[in-house]
């Protein structure tokens, strides 16, 4: 796959590299990142996405790009809704609205040092995790419909969480247009028991400490102070979201044939945003997104309760406020100027985070001067980052940036290098407590299986997609 450098940290995959490309591919990467993307099949996937009907400007890839299914992970594609633009459920992914929520606190390292083992054990005991699983909320079908319609707001109305949580959440915790009637019975069956559960795989909960401030003004707006403790939650829409995508993939596979659309990979099944099937999908997707927001909201409530119980203080007195909750698998209808005309676009972000720049009207006043917080989890045991959106990001890639470190190694390769217990010992030797139900998983998710998150966020900053605000170092990791 040919690439040519088109600017600092920007590479183009020219039209023609894959038959039917309508726009070029545009990859944000440093030299090492682009070399890595060439090694696996990620660049081919960037080119494949460029064939989607109605795609505008380019098929983008963020610096944490790697081979996914259909879309590359780190992929961003916008289609022109009123000019034949399509939506692709595979471009959102199975874990609809998978994302990250960050709680900050006034606690310092010395406040928690002695209690850290108890916190790790108690978080592991209280926060449901692993495969299947029963969540913190037990919902009947009517209650689940409420969650699908109102997201985190429904959970808040039940008395869990704080009023201020919603304004510090993408879409205020509720994606509009949800249609619980578009969600299948099996999705209800899978999701019903799971609201307020972490899941398995790369999902985690981490107690962290702010160990470096890169932008003092933005850090102050985000209430992140050097040496204070944070909690990061990475989870998604659990079985409910997986089932919505599974159901919709089949529907779009048929729709695509009916519309005479051809794509290089069947997982890119898509149809015009104007089709009734697309309207139904957007309703089901928003419902699953609201489930994910409610899930992370409930998990955060569980975290606050656990801290209060272990440390013998109220969560309020510890200042455990939400910094932000971001999605990194979602499609949204957004407005941008393209070729001199404002257009309504369907922006797919698959393993990419929306990153509004300063002044954006959807941002809460507190963040308006500095831009939207972007939460970037590192690999297990390595640092994570908080970034802020930039206004250059709008024209660069529809206000999008990275979502994590990005895998560099297959699970089999990772397991060959070290066993789960060795990984645990290694992390504990570095001062990171590990509480995992599944030792094999530790090997699959070992830090060396991922790219260096700092080089990923440096590339985002170099490409002016986002800027660095604060670095968070892990103290305790809770895995499914």
């Amino acid at each position: 796959m040919k690439t040519r450098s088109v600017g600092p940290f920007e590479w183009e995959v020219p039209v023609g590299e894959v038959g039917g490309m309508r726009v070029p591919g545009r990859v944000f990467a440093d030299e090492r990142g682009i070399a890595k993307a060439r090694e696996d099949r990620a660049l081919e996937q960037v080119a494949n996405v460029a064939t989607l009907p109605g795609i505008v400007r380019a098929s983008y890839a963020m610096p944490d790009i790697h081979w996914g299914y259909g879309f590359a992970v780190g992929g961003v594609a916008a289609t022109d809704v009123n000019n034949g633009g399509v939506i692709s459920p595979g471009g959102v992914g199975f874990d609809i609205c998978c994302g990250v929520r960050l709680l900050r606190s006034d606690l310092t390292l010395s406040d928690v040092r002695e209690a850290l083992t108890d916190l790790s054990v108690e978080l592991g005991r209280r926060i449901p995790r692993g495969t299947g699983g029963k969540g913190l909320l037990r919902l009947d079908r009517n209650e689940l419909r409420g969650v699908l319609t109102d997201g985190a707001a429904w959970v808040l109305a039940r008395g869990l969480g704080w009023e201020s949580d919603l304004e510090r959440c993408e879409d205020h915790g509720r994606l509009a247009g949800a249609d619980p009637g578009a969600v299948s019975d099996r999705a209800y069956d899978r999701g019903g028991p799971q609201c307020g559960s972490l899941g398995a795989g790369n999902h985690f909960l981490e107690v962290q400490v702010v160990d470096h401030i890169a932008d003092a003004g933005a850090a102050e707006a985000f209430e992140l102070r050097q040496g204070t403790v944070c909690v990061m939650i990475h989870s998604g829409s659990r079985g409910l979201g997986h089932q919505v995508c599974t159901d919709e993939l089949k529907i779009f596979d048929k729709l695509m044939r009916r519309e005479g659309i051809e794509v290089p990979d069947r997982q890119l099944a898509c149809g015009p945003v104007s089709a009734p099937e697309a309207e139904r999908y957007l309703g089901a997707m928003a419902a699953a997104a609201n489930f994910a927001r409610a899930n992370r909201h409930a998990l955060a409530h569980g975290v606050r309760e656990t801290f209060a119980s272990v440390l013998g203080r109220s969560a309020d007195s510890m200042g455990m406020r939400l910094v932000y909750d971001v999605a990194h698998n979602l499609a949204k209808i957004e407005r941008y100027e393209v070729d001199g005309r404002e257009r309504e676009l369907c922006v797919h972000r698959k393993g990419a985070t929306r990153a509004f720049g300063p002044g954006h009207p959807e941002l809460v006043d507190r963040y308006k001067a500095v831009g939207q917080p972007v939460i970037v989890p590192g690999s297990m045991g390595t640092e994570s980052w908080v970034l802020a959106g930039t206004n250059e990001g709008r024209d660069k890639a529809f206000w999008s940036t990275c979502h994590g470190a990005g895998r560099a190694m297959s699970r089999t390769q990772a397991k060959k290098r070290m066993g789960g217990q060795e990984v645990r010992r290694d992390l504990e030797a570095q001062g990171v407590l590990v509480n995992a139900t599944h030792p094999g998983l530790l090997a699959e998710e070992a830090p060396y299986a991922y790219k260096d998150v700092t080089s990923v966020v440096d590339t985002c900053e170099g490409a002016r997609l986002s800027k660095k605000v604060a670095r968070l170092r892990p103290l305790a990791v809770i895995k499914g």
Partner: protein, 134 residues
């Protein structure tokens, strides 16, 4: 009949081969169990549960059968490790052989994808390729 696990940067795939389509579907179910167990699934006689699936073509039908196998495991704790199916055009009906009390040492499978999904004829019979989201 045979299967192998396919490497993928983030996810995991399977390739199954068999002389005929029913055998191919059974081997793909076995491969899926192997991914979850991170080990060869137990062989021999198993309890059997009914399964039926329908799709527009044989590759999508295989994806549907594997989704049913995963749902069976998620909803009941019984893991399908083989299949005895009659496959007719775009429908499959028969039974899964299931085991319980299994330890999941492999990655958790979220879903069956259509990425590079294929059921193809070979010189010796049939080959299937399926990738999972994990």
């Amino acid at each position: 009949m045979a299967f192998r696990i396919l490497e993928h940067t983030a996810d995991v795939g399977i390739e199954a081969t068999a002389p005929d389509i029913p055998g191919l579907f059974s081997e793909a179910v076995r491969a899926t169990a192997a991914v979850l167990l991170d080990a060869e699934p137990p062989a021999g006689a198993h309890d059997r549960v009914a399964v039926a699936a329908e799709a527009d073509d044989v590759a999508a039908l295989l994806a549907e059968v594997l989704q049913e196998a995963l749902w069976r495991f998620e909803s009941s704790g019984w893991l399908p490790v083989d299949a005895e199916l009659e496959v007719s055009g775009t429908t499959a009906a028969g039974t899964f052989g299931v085991v319980n009390d299994v330890t999941i040492d492999g990655p958790v499978i979220k879903a069956v994808t259509y990425h590079q999904l294929a059921v193809e004829r070979t010189a010796d019979g049939w080959r299937a390729t399926v990738y999972f989201d994990v």
